[in-house]
Amino acid sequence: MANHTTVDYKAEKGGYYKVLFGLLALTALTFIQPSMFLTHYTFGMQMLIGTVKAWIILMYYMHLKGEVLIGWTVIFAVFLVVFFFAIVMIDVNNFQFADVSHITSPAQ
């Protein structure tokens, strides 16, 4: 089975440019956020903007929109990463080994 999907270049390229402008706008937001709004939540805001950008790239540039099986595979993989992330964050918030650790300052 060949990939016989025929496309009309002129009709579809507009979608690619719309995504580009959306991503450029979000990139501009990335730059102005630390000095313009919610300045005490820079890290959270930056990750939020990054997540929105990632979602747009996945859906439109990587063609995940409408892909059920591959979409769920991606969700499962991301879930695994986030799950371990959460476990590690719980652990690090109860860090008890500063005296013998190689990841904390020797002075601690």
Partner: protein, 236 residues
């Protein structure tokens, strides 16, 4: 699997005969577009898990050395980082348009877009090289005294961890860019030899996916390293 010595890319189905003598066409991997796509996604998920683990380590260190990370981030060159962000963004567009041109039958236009993507990838690497050279001149680079604890030139411990992760992750990302350029050269070779065509474009599709993944990783690498200290460092 049957092959034609003159035109090896042309898909010629294998025929299997069952016990009743009935013939069946065997689905060959060459034409299995969905299988090719799914397989490549599985590969990309291993990449996500690799970079995901690195982000996990980064977050671990960030939690332990919050202020050191913000101070170190404030010293990075956000202009060069921002230029690279935009360069990579435009390269994702050219790659996507190249695939679109290929699928619409415009092979020459597709090749032009691949060359444009490669040029942008080289610009990205050039900007990164300038950035790393500036870091080296300032005494901040892997192996230099500032990034080794226990001497008079040592940076605060959290900053040493930050820059260790910075060079590791941006270096690994840069390595993926180099691999991407190699893949694009290979793709051009396959297009020139007629093995990737508007009808059989799964290789082009997957290399475009790879390039989007490289872009996707940068979408998180950039704010994590360059922007968390954009509000300014607090010393002392």
């Amino acid at each position: 699997m049957a092959h034609d010595s003159h035109d090896s890319h042309e898909y010629i189905p294998e025929i299997a005969v069952d016990r009743n003598g009935k013939e069946h066409v065997v689905q060959g991997w060459q034409g299995d577009t969905y299988g090719g796509k799914l397989g490549f996604w599985l590969f990309m998920l291993t990449e996500v898990m690799m970079f995901g683990s690195m982000f996990m380590v980064l977050s671990y260190y960030f939690t332990l050395h919050h202020q050191d990370f913000i101070n170190a981030s404030a010293g990075l060159d956000r202009v060069l980082g921002g230029i690279n962000t935009v360069v990579l963004l435009i390269s994702a567009l050219t790659m996507g348009l190249g695939l679109l041109r290929m699928r619409s039958g415009d092979v020459k236009g597709a090749k032009l877009m691949i060359w444009a993507t490669m040029l942008l990838a080289l610009i990205f690497l050039g900007v990164k090289a300038v950035e790393w050279t500036n870091d080296y001149k300032e005494g901040i680079f892997l192996g230099l005294q500032a990034l080794q604890s226990g001497n008079e030139h040592s940076l605060p411990f959290g900053e040493i961890l930050y820059f260790g992760m910075y060079f590791t992750m941006t270096g690994l990302h840069g390595f993926h860019i180099i691999i991407g350029i190699g893949l694009m050269l290979w793709l051009l070779k396959r297009i020139n030899s007629g093995k990737v065509t508007p009808e059989h474009n799964i290789l082009h599709f997957n290399i475009a996916l790879y390039w989007d993944l490289v872009h996707l990783i940068w979408v998180f690498v950039f704010p994590y390293f360059y922007m968390i200290g954009a509000g300014g460092a607090i010393h002392g």
